[in-house]
């Protein structure tokens, strides 16, 4: 029976993953910005079989309360062994290009908030010499593109940070999982026209996340074919890449 903290728990992928944890009878502690939405998610995963569900309303950028969040989770569940960080905003690239403020706020939410929390979690798990840290990054973090490089840069920072953290925590037997979803049909991507085989459902991503956690994977692309798409995209020489519209 796991003791799982999920940050950004009202996102579609986090909800779908929480349902899978709940069906296995795990303890859950869910955190997010909106108390109303957290309550709806709490009711849902309680019925679905979670051993217990705790709730904590917090803005991920409210770093002063990160320690309090972790303490509350440990208190509520009598411990903590799995952390899933799933919060984020899909940046409006054009708006970020026109506003320093917008660009930095998004970087703050998608990268700095994550890194702040990871630093605290890593120290707790390293001292305990066990635990799983799973973080939703993105395929967008694999290479900067003109259509979304502010979002991509933040996710890329998270990916690189996790790489180093994994290297550091390997000795302590702590799993650090970098999750890189491709296109997912969620409210976050509601403004983008959808259709075609590249779009996945949050349920499919959740199944992949749980499998990656249980198999102790380091990095996972979801669905799997993004690994090959991104391999090709990373291999394109910059001289050519800079002329492309991707």
């Amino acid at each position: 029976m796991r003791k799982v903290l999920i940050l950004g728990a009202t996102s579609a992928i986090a909800q779908a993953t929480a349902r899978l944890f709940a069906a296995k009878g795990d303890h859950l502690f869910i955190a997010g910005r909106s108390a109303d939405r957290l309550e709806m998610v709490r009711q849902d995963i309680a019925v679905r079989g979670a051993a217990s569900v705790g709730v904590f309303a917090i803005d991920a950028n409210d770093r002063a309360r990160h320690e309090a969040l972790l303490d509350a989770a440990e208190r509520a569940m009598g411990g903590l062994d799995t952390v899933l960080i799933a919060h984020g905003v899909l940046s409006d690239q054009k708006a970020c290009e026109g506003s320093v403020e917008r660009a930095l706020v998004d970087i703050e939410t998608n990268a700095l908030g994550v890194i702040a929390l990871l630093t605290l979690v890593a120290n707790r798990f390293e001292a305990r010499r066990s635990g799983t840290i799973a973080v939703i990054s993105s395929v967008a973090g694999d290479r900067g593109r003109k259509s979304n490089y502010v979002y991509g840069a933040a996710k890329g920072m998270v990916t690189l940070f996790l790489q180093g953290l994994r290297n550091r925590l390997a000795a302590a037997e702590v799993q650090v999982l970098t999750i890189k979803p491709g296109f997912v049909d969620t409210p976050m991507t509601a403004a983008i026209p959808k259709g075609g085989p590249l779009w996945a459902k949050p349920e499919d991503i959740a199944t992949g996340i749980l499998a990656a956690i249980e198999k102790k994977r380091d990095v996972v692309y979801l669905p799997w074919f993004w690994q090959w798409i991104m391999l090709i995209i990373r291999m394109i020489p910059e001289r050519i890449f800079k002329r492309l519209s991707l």
């Binding site: 109303d36 709806m40 259709g195």
Partner: protein, 435 residues
């Protein structure tokens, strides 16, 4: 993969776009023009298509709200699939009191069509087990509806085809079971008379009764078929259901044609079966759910369903006439299903189930000849004082609909003025011109 919005029969084809809802406290979407709430799109015809193409996609409202395993009372959001309810309730000893032949429909859709199942003679239809629901109207009102609190909106919404507002959440009363397995008996019968006799006998002893009919058999074999009756079992065992397979794409030409239909009907009738067996509820109640997207088998032109109910007194004659007309047309149906409804009248203004015999048929769409055959079936049903099921319809005349559902004007009076379906426009259009 995001899939386009179609009706289950893939006919008619109307371009649709969806505005998604993700949270039950979200406001009714502010969109200019008319809209239609949408569940999982399992209605066969145009009752799940918006006339002007704008749907409110409520599948994102798929959360449980509460479940009490001591009383079997369940509250959930209306976009939740019956499959998700069963996954949670069956291991705790509770079952849906009424379920149609697929578990891939939403609770909202089940209410809006007041769906029925193989146990209508025992439990009535879905609406009989709805304790209450919340309705979001386009004027911003949120109305909690129960039989006592909303004497107009409650019965108008049950079987109301989604026209009275967006059903946001619902409370249901489940029934206790002892396990996931059913004790199933299968009996081959040689003609229509034997069906009625078997039905009368079995409805007294069994929770689920239904018959498959070989609708290509003629003469003395007319109405022959296979009767199944089942009860929830205490024991468990037998074969676990397989994971669903998927029809990956729509074949350019339908494999369902005169030859394959004839072969299928003959084989299915002759197939040796164990007279009695334990079957998992998914195997027995939802055989077609094991074949995801089976509707694609009918090819790009899609297919039409025809389900009618006729009063018991006229049933033998009407069923003979219908089966005779089909056999004559040689058009055949693969899934001809016959069931006696019980005496419990529906709670909805437009509930389809009513005392009598109900026959469901499906036909590959082949153009005017298919439409002409179904018109002929409608005339037989009307002559027998019956009704045709809107959830499965894509083509009945306004007059046929209104004769089967004389309370339609009461629904029109409570309809949310911003909500309209292609079906409702079609079956009420000629009355608008007159007025």
């Amino acid at each position: 993969m995001a899939e386009p919005y179609t009706s289950w029969g893939l006919y008619p084809k109307l371009p649709q776009r969806g505005v998604t809802l993700s949270w039950r406290n979200q406001a009714f979407p502010a969109i200019a023009g008319e809209v239609l709430p949408r569940g999982n799109g399992r209605s066969y015809g145009d009752s799940c298509l918006a006339e002007n193409g704008t749907l409110i996609d409520a599948r994102g409202l798929d959360r449980f709200i509460s479940f009490d395993p001591t009383t079997g009372r369940l509250a959930c959001e209306a976009g939740m699939l019956l499959a998700d309810i069963l996954d949670v309730s069956v291991p705790r000893g509770w079952f849906l009191p009424v379920t149609p032949g697929t578990r891939l429909i939403t609770v909202g859709g089940a209410i809006a069509n007041d769906v029925h199942g193989k146990n209508h003679h025992r439990r009535g239809s879905f609406g009989h087990h709805v304790l209450g629901f919340e309705l979001a109207r386009s004027d911003g009102r949120r109305i909690r509806c129960t039989q006592d609190e909303e004497a107009e909106l409650f019965p108008a919404t049950i079987g109301g085809l989604g026209l009275t507002g967006l059903i946001v959440s619902a409370e249901l009363q489940l029934v206790p079971i002892e396990g996931a397995w059913l004790d199933v008996e299968t009996i081959r019968f040689e003609d229509l008379g034997s069906f009625f006799a078997l039905s009368t006998e079995s409805d007294a002893t069994h929770e689920y009764t239904v018959a498959w009919i070989d609708c290509l058999a003629q003469g003395s074999a007319l109405g022959r078929g296979v009767f199944t009756r089942a009860n929830h079992a205490r024991a468990s065992g037998g074969r676990e259901p397989r994971a669903p397979r998927r029809i990956p794409l729509t074949p350019p030409i339908s494999p369902v044609n005169g030859w394959t239909l004839r072969a299928f009907n003959e084989l299915y009738y002759r197939l040796p079966r164990a007279p009695r067996s334990l079957q998992h509820y998914r195997t027995h109640l939802y055989p077609l759910d094991a074949l995801r997207d089976w509707n694609r088998l009918y090819g790009p032109r899609g297919f039409l369903q025809h389900q009618c109910v006729v009063p018991a007194t006229s049933a033998p004659e009407a069923m003979r006439a219908i089966l005779g007309a089909i056999a004559e047309a040689g058009d055949g149906s693969m899934l001809a299903v016959l069931k006696m409804f019980g005496d419990m009248p529906g709670r909805g203004l437009l509930s389809f189930p009513r005392p009598g015999a109900s026959l469901a048929l499906d036909f590959p769409f082949r153009g005017p000849s298919t439409l002409a055959l179904l018109d002929r079936l409608d005339r037989i049903v009307m002559g027998a004082g019956g009704a045709v099921y809107p959830a499965k319809d894509a083509r009945m005349s306004g007059e046929t609909f209104r004769r089967g559902f004389p309370d339609w004007q009461k629904l029109e009076a409570t309809r949310d003025p911003k909500i309209m379906s292609a079906f409702w426009r079609r079956v009420t259009a000629d009355t608008r011109k007159e007025s």
